[in-house]
Amino acid sequence: MAPLEKTDLLQGTLDLLILKVVALGPVHGYGIAQRIRQISSDVLQVQQGSLYPALHRLEKRGWIAADWGESENNRQARFYRLSAKGRKQLVAEEETWNRLSQAVALILRTAE
């Protein structure tokens, strides 16, 4: 559980990550944080202080929807799932991210 060095997420990147994780299936806030952490091999740690505002922001925009349900350990948890609007948004943001990261990578390579 040793906290790794926290990588600051670019504004907007967190939204993309949340959308991507939620696209895998209904998941609660804790699960989202855990999955981002596990999939990124502990490189990315989402702070609760940014996770929940982001979840509510995305929900307000209609990209994700939330329902109360029972978690794996029989507790009430708020499960988030992707809406149709959110699916489109995810595709668009993935494209943007790929273009951005390719551009950054290109600059890093060329400028060497």
Partner: protein, 238 residues
């Protein structure tokens, strides 16, 4: 399984429960790693950090749309003001003068017309002045002493005098012999207020110069005593 929430009203409640669930999950993960339950919960609380901050920032998500647009418009307004200061100054001056003039006029109207006079029965106050039909006495003011004299010198009026005086309130020439006590005049005025056309409450009482009976003790000969009741009509009917 999933139940429908939620009205925006229980957002705060939702966030509370969400946070509680998150902390429980963290606690369980810590226990799974071999911590004692208390230690696990303690660590979970530490790891989660400021609950109130999280709740506050979620609240801000739900309010920010309005706040942001207000801030945006305010900033735009300020930028516009700074961009053309002379125009801004002209607009501000126009507004200031306009508002100032309006409030000045309104204060005057409020004090003169809208507010009742600051006396009991303010709508029954009268202004008395006298008029010399022969033009010998230019002084139209009635001295308080003279008014007292009038009151003292005139015998109680007959009811007919009072009613006569009110039938045509605007310019009613009283018969010289009619003596009129001031107080009964007021009483008759009060009655006349119910009459629509007496609304102006203007009553001119005249006595010709030849007859000095009613006013002789106080008025110089030939002077008319006129009485004009002002303007403030019908107040007590509202």
């Amino acid at each position: 399984m999933p139940s429908q929430d939620q009205s925006p009203r229980n957002t705060s409640d939702n966030v509370d429960r969400e946070i509680a669930h998150h902390i429980e999950a963290l606690t369980e993960a810590n226990i799974a790693q071999g911590m004692s339950p208390e230690e696990a919960r303690h660590q979970a609380l530490i790891e989660f950090g400021g609950r109130e901050q999280v709740k506050q920032s979620v609240r801000e998500v739900h309010t920010s749309a309005i706040a942001e647009s207000i801030a945006f418009h305010l900033k735009a307004a300020l930028r516009f003001l700074r961009k053309s200061p002379s125009f801004s100054l002209a607009v501000i001056l126009t507004l200031a003068l306009g508002i100032g003039a309006n409030s000045a006029v309104f204060s005057a109207i409020d004090a003169i017309v809208l507010r009742p006079l600051p006396f009991p029965n303010g709508d029954r106050l009268v202004v008395l002045y006298q008029h010399d039909s022969k033009g010998r006495d230019a002084n139209r003011f009635v001295a308080p002493v003279r008014l007292e004299d009038w009151n003292a010198s005139t015998p109680p009026s007959s009811p007919s005098a009072a009613t006569t005086s009110t039938t045509s309130p605007k310019h009613r020439a009283l018969s010289p012999r009619k003596s009129l006590k001031f107080s009964s005049l007021l009483a008759s005025l009060k009655r006349s207020e119910s009459r629509p056309h007496s609304a102006a409450n203007s009553l001119l009482l005249k006595s010709t110069g030849e007859d000095r009976t009613p006013f002789s003790s106080a008025t110089p000969s030939g002077s008319d005593a006129s009485m004009v009741i002002p303007m403030r009509s019908g107040k007590n009917s509202t």
